[in-house]
Symmetry: C2
Subunit: 216 residues, 2 copies
């Protein structure tokens, strides 16, 4: 998959821990030591414990950062204590990049040493997150606060229409479909929102000014 | 994969919940309703929450048991309260089979209404688990107790040589290799035991009478 991605023009990869049989930290590190030298692109560790059950623990990240080819970490744990501890632990490695996964935490992560975000919502409203990034770099507190609250509004409404943890994914795919960016098809075991939820997402998108009102 | 398995002579399948993005219970049920009618073999639900994060909750099992093609459940949760509750909840479905995954729990599950086991250790010492099954069916308490304690001895020694949750898998593969049943290769991110652990496993296998002593 990495080779195909490189052929298609990808610039970097993310690696999450294998997510069925849970690996111990030394096993994870050994896995990275074997795999990363064989990959055609630079690699971000992808910390996603809600989906993999396994954290890249701070000591593992520190050791993995010494493997040539690993250039950063994307953290989707939502645990800002972990994030701040990593920033501190790797502060000697200026070129090592820490990206945040949850867009709700992009503002605080950028203000306190993070380097960027890989945000699902940026598929829908990329400008918002680019502006938030720029405002944080300029320490434009008022603008950061305003844009942060808009990100939270999107999250609170669009990502909370469903009843299960998939609500985030279903809400985002539904919004992308309504905005004409891509279809709302989802791979099994998930399915697109039914009409009732679709209409709620449409209403929220209109109220948030992301979609024009149908009668305008 | 199911079609290939059927071609090769498999008699049934197990389905664990998809294990990356966690599914809600109604989503799991819908997934089974879509998938099972398209499968060429009868299906056991495979409850393996330590690896999937997701339980087949009792209400989901009850509803899934109505789907033609689903004939039973293999439970590897290690949670006997869950197992007993399922047996009770599905007691009207005589043909629905409950198998236990953890061989350490085979004795009690058989004595209290379970129908069999799918036990890793049966790859190494199949006779032990067949005898345990037969003894339980005959209510031969003394023999059940003796065989049960042998199963626990194997588990306590062979499966506890390593330091991580993979210890079970590594210990079993190592033992199978030493017994000449198959190689001890493991797929990434795991690796076979190193020499030191291999020697411990060999020693335990000899003490347990599973391997003859080298100098005999």
């Amino acid at each position: 998959m990495a080779e195909k991605a490189a052929e298609c023009g990808a610039q970097a990869l993310v690696i999450a821990p294998p997510y069925y049989f849970p690996a111990g930290q030394p096993e994870l590190l050994e896995y990275l030591q074997h795999l990363v030298p064989r990959l055609p692109l630079p690699v971000f560790l992808y910390n996603m414990p809600s989906h993999t059950k396994v954290f890249f623990e701070p000591g593992t990240v520190k050791a993995a950062a010494e493997i040539p080819g690993i250039i950063g970490l994307k953290d989707s744990s939502g645990n800002m204590i972990y994030f701040h501890q990593l920033l501190s632990l790797l502060s000697h490695r200026e070129a090592f990049a820490f990206f945040i996964g949850a867009e709700e935490l992009l503002a605080e992560s950028l203000l306190l040493g993070g380097h960027g975000g890989i945000c699902g919502g940026a598929n829908l409203v990329p400008r918002l997150y680019v502006e938030l990034f720029q405002a944080a770099k300029l320490r434009d507190w008022e603008r950061v606060s305003r844009l942060h609250h808009r990100a939270i509004e999107i999250s609170t409404r669009i990502y909370r229409v469903g009843r299960h943890p998939s609500s985030y994914l279903k809400g985002l795919k539904c919004a992308l479909g309504l905005a004409g960016i891509c279809g709302d098809f989802m791979a099994e075991p998930f399915h697109r929102f039914r009409l009732e939820e679709q209409e709620l997402v449409r209403q929220y998108l209109e109220e948030l000014g992301i979609l024009g009102k149908a009668d305008e």
